[in-house]
Symmetry: C2
Subunit: 456 residues, 2 copies
């Protein structure tokens, strides 16, 4: 892989310029106004895959945002790597909290600042450039397939049907994804577990119209107050979620497993200082790394109702809303948790309001094997470039597609991510280290190399 590495070093600036070009396309999947940019981004990626050496590329239209497919098949007897990534990004708001425009990438303190810099344009594009380097130098040791979608941030709705329709075409020996974080730049790690998610939107309706709080206040159930009371009831004073049955299927880790987790470096004071908070919270009896990876959660991700403009308005609004998500751990399932939530949330509504719960999207929690050839290949690749054996780590986020590919294609994933928790993905001032971007491009070819070797 030496020629590949030389090629990468020789083309570093261009690799960055191209990523910037991709980032400048505001491909926000959640809002209809960005629709045209979704196709622009998909087309850009398709062209890049062609130029990188793909034999065949396709823009596959779906009911929502297009999926980019590409492949390079060298020889049928060689193992096949299926690379998954996504070109859609989170909305940029609250836009006023960005230090620079979200879709105009800049370099500051050795990091790329922009929406999608890390999640997942930066991490996905590393794979295209690693592929280009191996192809250009004729060192590609595996067949490769790419599936780059545009709906990851909104629940990957189109993907199941697409996979079903293209099961034969997508066949592979491993699913390779870079959409996760490492512990630190000097503590490389590989994600071996992901939390699932159940995401709902709730609507609490009271009177049939907005009311004047002077005339009606005191006698009418205020939907905002009701919503707040209901949300408050979702957790007890020990930070445990009160939804009946919520913890029934949660797999508790053994003392040995917890002790092993506790070995990863973690400092509470540094963590609090980084976030600027004086205290943390969460379910009683668990450490911060446990709370953010092996324990389920419930967070309100958005709330609104009544008058939210400048000044004051004395209104009792007809409706109040919230977006609520629960992170799930093995063996919870998103559909069952959605149902438990819905029943409970309706049950705790005070008389005088009506409750509607809409299920937005879900993903299943997963744990991947550390004993597979693919995991070993990733471990060896990272040890090669970082000079340190990576730690297996369970992570708090959700990548819904991992379970999906496993269920539908029988292919297992390796989650070799190069981000950091401090990358502020989904937040203002999202960033991605240049160190991380280039380290990813350098490491990926070794994964191919070791995966081919170990598969022999």
């Amino acid at each position: 892989m030496q020629q590949t590495q030389n090629y990468i070093q020789a083309n570093k600036q261009r690799f960055l310029d191209e990523l910037f070009e991709l980032i400048r396309i505001p491909s926000v999947s959640a809002a209809a106004e960005y629709k045209d940019n979704m196709l622009r981004a998909a087309t850009f990626i398709e062209q890049q895959l062609q130029q990188a050496g793909a034999d065949r590329t396709e823009i596959c239209f779906t009911n929502h945002h297009p999926i980019v497919y590409a492949e390079k098949i060298i020889a049928p007897q060689l193992p096949t790597v299926l690379v998954y990534g996504h070109y859609d990004v989170q909305p940029a708001d609250p836009i006023e909290l960005w230090d620079s425009p979200p879709f105009e990438p800049i370099i500051k303190n050795g990091k790329i600042y922009a929406r999608g810099a890390c999640d997942d344009k930066g991490q996905m594009y590393m794979h295209i450039k690693a592929f280009e380097a191996m192809t250009a130098t004729k060192e590609l040791p595996c067949n490769v397939k790419f599936i780059i979608e545009g709906e990851e941030e909104i629940g990957s709705e189109s993907l199941p049907y697409f996979i079903q329709q293209n099961a034969e075409k997508l066949k592979a020996d491993v699913l390779l994804i870079s959409d996760t974080n490492m512990i630190a730049n000097d503590v490389p790690s590989i994600t071996v577990g992901l939390r699932g998610i159940t995401y709902v939107q709730v609507e609490v309706s009271g009177p049939n119209r907005d009311l004047h709080s002077g005339t009606y206040g005191g006698a009418v159930v205020n939907p905002i107050n009701a919503l707040c009371e209901m949300i408050a009831k979702l957790k007890d004073t020990d930070g445990r979620i009160t939804i009946p049955g919520f913890y029934d299927k949660v797999v508790e880790l053994s003392a040995t497993e917890r002790a092993s987790m506790a070995e990863a470096p973690f400092d509470v004071a540094t963590y609090k200082a980084d976030l600027g908070v004086e205290a943390l919270a969460g379910e009683k009896g668990y450490s911060v790394p446990e709370l953010t990876s092996i324990r389920p959660t419930l967070d309100v991700n958005g709330i609104w109702g009544g008058y939210t403009g400048e000044g004051s308005k004395t209104v009792i609004p007809a409706k109040a809303y919230a977006k609520i998500s629960m992170r799930l751990v093995p063996n919870q399932t998103s559909a069952e948790i959605a149902q438990q939530f819905t029943e409970h949330f309706k049950a705790i509504a005070p008389k005088g309001v009506q409750v509607k719960v809409d299920f937005h999207h879900g993903a299943e929690p997963i744990v991947t094997s550390v004993g597979s050839i693919a995991y070993k290949a990733a471990e060896m690749a990272m040890e090669k470039t970082f000079g340190k054996k990576p730690i297996p780590q369970r992570s708090g986020g959700s990548i819904p597609v991992v379970q999906l590919f496993n269920d539908m294609l029988g292919v297992n994933a390796v989650l070799m991510g190069f981000g950091l928790d401090s990358d502020a993905i989904h937040s203002p001032n999202e960033n991605f280290g240049l160190f991380n971007y280039y380290k990813g491009i350098e490491t990926i070819p070794y994964f191919y190399y070791y995966f081919a070797e170990l598969s022999k």
Copy 2:
């Protein structure tokens, strides 16, 4: 007053057309973008007062929105009526819930539909037209002064300084205001009590940036969840407000007073049906008319935080906000309640968040005398035009200026309003009955007549 009444009948259509012209000016005081319309509305009113026969008119600039002053002094020995009203209106949002554009008045089912139709453009304009009718027919029996402000909906901030600077000019024997409701069109009433208000905005801050709920969820205090928990704690299960000291100064009505209140016609089933709710709430042990007039309240008038757009975003926001108002009854004071609220709200904040409370505006609760000459004049005027003696009624809303005029000028108010609770002021589809608009114009001259007679 027969010529006055004849004049009114002869000019009904014009009186309506002029009101429509005023309503079409979107004079929303709360939002800076409407600034120009505030002056347009004030200028329109000044011109109308000139045409109606005022000797002297003025647009008085303030730090914020202008105040319109006008007067007609017939003879120093005659009593002077000071008419107060406001030309500013509530914001129109949520705009999507209006059946017709808020600033394009239309007549439907005998009612004017528009923002400000009742509050207070409709009710205020009745006074200008009654004044015109009395002046045109030379039947005006009192001196008259008008003070029409543009900041009522945002707390009348400029008024105290204006009154202080113009105390001599504003001297009067009674303050006449139409900015309240009657029980029903066939149950005329006069408002003899108003609740006060304390309006605050709260900000709950957690981490120093928006966080990804997968990466951080479970360990970090989510400001939205915290805000909801804090709001939930503001009332107990009996609907009583839990702020220490909140009820200490509340005047409890005697059994006799409560029995007298219970005599006013009220039907819970009709009330619930009108609002489209299956149940009501409120402090245990009080009737709906009591809850909405003689008991203090706490309502969230607005709440926001996190992602509130289309689709989903898995964010733990850095901040969450709410606008909260408390209606006050004698002898609570807005400043003391604001302080009690602030201390309590900070005290119940969970560790890991910071709380900021901004006092937006306040007004003191008032009770007016039913034994005064002014009250008797209003009673006789309404009995004359409605054919029924009006009932004294305590009302739930707040008119901050009533206490202000009393404190600063020593003048007592008569709250002779012609609106109905169903007018949806502060809500989409605000309306004002044509019956009510014309009945107001017809009744006001009799008030002047009886007030002059009783003052002799």
